[in-house]
């Protein structure tokens, strides 16, 4: 901070030097580069937001107005009617899909974070033979793409007759090698050994120390792992596609995919796909907004080291 306040007082007033000052009210960048930067960002804001805006507008229209009115602006506001129709369609199978997704992703990410956090913590804070080997195997796991596992997982689950069940999608999503990697790095940096030692002197057990003291210090990393695992499960497509036949077990992505592939036969599905797509992205956006300040800190830890 002191560095910031000092620099403007430096006697030699070269323009370029002042230009480098990041203080908010500080001397100006050249207006040209300001305008250039803002233009780039505004153009790309349109690129990123227009598709979502379009989806929202489309969700508010009746199916006849969908093709006949301006795609980027509202006609009669039918959003709630459309949602009502979607929810009622086929005994509310869409709601079932949303709940499935919430369960797969919510419970899955929570447990995955717990397991990864414990393992990462142990790898960071305890010495035991095979520690480095274990960490390296896990790192290798980060580089193995999850989709490469989908087919063998299907074959294994069919050996034990568990395909087309909740568990076929849920169990594999409890593993997050990246979570172990991130929590290990974060725990090494943010949980001081002295603190664990102090807790030991107070007579707290190791496990209890983890849950009462260390978890708090690791919280940004844990939130990050939770969020990214949540997104990974929510977005997962190959595993449910290959595992599930029973429609009532589908996550929302697979359900909407299935509807979308029948649009040519059943045109009325198009409206349901659009409004369903809109509803399916809202939970994730809310989750990201709520947990912003945590995951930003956590992300930094993983990439800097």
């Amino acid at each position: 901070m002191s560095a910031l306040t000092e620099s403007p007082t430096v006697a030699r007033p070269a323009k370029r030097r002042a230009a480098a000052n990041p203080a908010p009210k500080g001397p100006k960048e050249s207006p040209l580069s300001r305008v250039g930067a803002m233009t780039v960002m505004l153009v790309f804001t349109l690129y990123f937001l227009i598709p979502i805006w379009w989806l929202f507008v489309a969700g508010t229209k009746s199916s006849s107005q969908f093709t006949s009115t301006n795609p980027l602006w509202f006609a009669d506001f039918n959003l709630f009617e459309n949602i009502g129709n979607l929810v009622a369609y086929r005994d509310g199978v869409f709601l079932k899909w949303m709940l499935n997704s919430a369960l797969y992703a919510g419970a899955g990410a929570l447990l995955a974070t717990l397991f990864a956090g414990m393992a990462g913590y142990a790898l960071a804070k305890y010495r035991f033979p095979g520690r480095e080997l274990l960490f390296n195997i896990v790192l290798g796991g980060v580089l193995v793409p999850a989709t490469a596992l989908a087919l063998p997982l299907f074959l294994i689950f069919s050996q034990v007759s568990l395909t087309n069940t909740f568990w076929a999608v849920f169990l594999p999503s409890l593993v997050s090698p990246f979570g172990v990697y991130l929590t290990r790095i974060f725990a090494s940096a943010s949980v001081p050994d002295e603190l664990i030692e102090a807790a030991r002197l107070d007579g707290a057990g190791e496990v209890r120390t983890f849950f009462t003291v260390s978890v708090k210090l690791m919280f940004p990393a844990l939130v990050t792992v939770f969020l990214f695992q949540f997104v990974a499960i929510w977005n997962n497509f190959f595993l449910p596609l290959i595992m599930l036949r029973d429609e009532t077990l589908f996550p929302v992505t697979l359900g909407l995919y299935a509807w979308n592939s029948q649009v040519n036969q059943i045109p009325e599905l198009r409206g349901y796909v659009l409004i369903g797509a809109l509803l399916s992205i809202i939970p994730l956006i809310i989750l990201f907004l709520l947990l912003q300040r945590f995951w930003r800190n956590g992300l930094g830890a993983g990439s800097v080291k």
């Binding site: 790309f44 393992a119 035991f128 497509f237 995919y257 797509a277």
Partner: protein, 318 residues
């Protein structure tokens, strides 16, 4: 990430022996381990799940890929027998598979640099004093990451289609869903979803650089561009490498977007990407060949991301 990733490959082969002994205190060693019980409680849940749902499937895929199905006559009972490398020979002779690999490599060579270049540009702009409303931009660019690949593909499928798109002026002249362009239409969907995510990873790395580091450069009269190029980018190289590796992995695994695009465009075949190939082969069903595809694909991914890591490390080491 860096040095410790090296032995991962040979560690894999030792993997099968590890899990069994991990639970108990390691008796034969002389080193005394403090708190063996706590370590077991922390490690075992992850280790068991990792073994069951990562290591075992990898092993099982390899095992399955070594089998062939034999039948007594055309309609006879099928039995699986050991076939050595038969499936792998089939993989290497399979034209569509290599076409699909070439296709995703071409995709990656163009899409990954464009996406990461944009992500880096946005992150540097967010970190520079040039912008106002940074919070807004950060969020706006990140929102697409909340859209699952399947949903993003459905959305863009509508946006591309000549009669439904809001941009009919463009889509009626350029047919994005034609055989020539559909790969790049998909590249646009992937870029749209992931730029913001990569931007944030790079941006957080930038935030972690202490501002004092720039002081000397400023006193020497360096402008923003110079500071970005000579100080910021070298310092955040690890973050860029990380995003690069994840992007390479993601590219080779392309599945959801092309699978959705099959509804919109007949140009996307069932062998469009390697993973589509795995999927369609397994549903024929020829699981042994599909397993061999999976193994080759996982190996290719591993080799590619690993050599990317090594390559960038060597460049940094100079």
């Amino acid at each position: 990430m860096s040095a410790s990733a090296i032995p991962a490959a040979d560690a894999r082969s030792a993997a099968s022996r590890r899990p069994a002994s991990r639970g108990q205190a390691p008796a034969p060693r002389k080193i005394k381990v403090a708190h063996p019980k706590a370590i077991a409680i922390f490690i075992v849940p992850f280790a068991v799940l990792f073994t069951l749902f990562y290591l075992v499937p990898i092993g099982y895929a390899i095992y399955q890929s070594l089998l062939v199905v034999e039948r007594d006559g055309t309609f006879g009972k099928a039995t699986e027998v050991f076939g050595g490398l038969t499936q792998y020979i089939a993989v290497f002779q399979n034209g569509p598979f290599w076409e699909s690999i070439t296709r995703v490599l071409a995709f990656g060579v163009v899409q990954v640099p464009v996406m990461l270049g944009l992500a880096l540009l946005f992150a540097l702009l967010l970190d520079s004093p040039l912008l106002r409303g940074k919070r807004f931009f950060r969020l706006a660019f990140f929102v697409p990451y909340a859209v699952p690949g399947v949903i993003a593909a459905i959305m863009w499928g509508f946006l591309y289609s000549p009669n439904l798109s809001p941009f009919t002026a463009i889509t009626s002249n350029v047919s994005f869903l034609s055989a020539d362009l559909v790969l790049w239409a998909i590249a646009n969907v992937v870029t749209w979803v992931y730029v913001g995510y990569n931007m944030l990873i790079i941006y957080s790395a930038l935030l972690a650089i202490p501002t004092e580091i720039y002081e000397a450069a400023r006193l020497d009269g360096a402008g923003q561009l110079r500071i970005a190029w000579s100080i910021k980018i070298p310092l955040i190289m690890p973050a860029i490498v990380l995003t690069g590796i994840f992007s390479i992995i993601g590219t080779l695994q392309l599945l959801a977007e092309p699978q959705v695009f099959r509804t919109f465009s007949s140009a996307v075949t069932s062998t469009f990407t390697p993973n589509l190939m795995v999927y369609s082969t397994s549903s024929i069903p020829n699981v042994n060949l599909a397993a061999a595809f999976s193994v080759v694909l996982a190996l290719a991914t591993f080799v590619l991301s690993f050599s990317f890591l090594k390559f960038t490390q060597r460049k940094e080491g100079k």
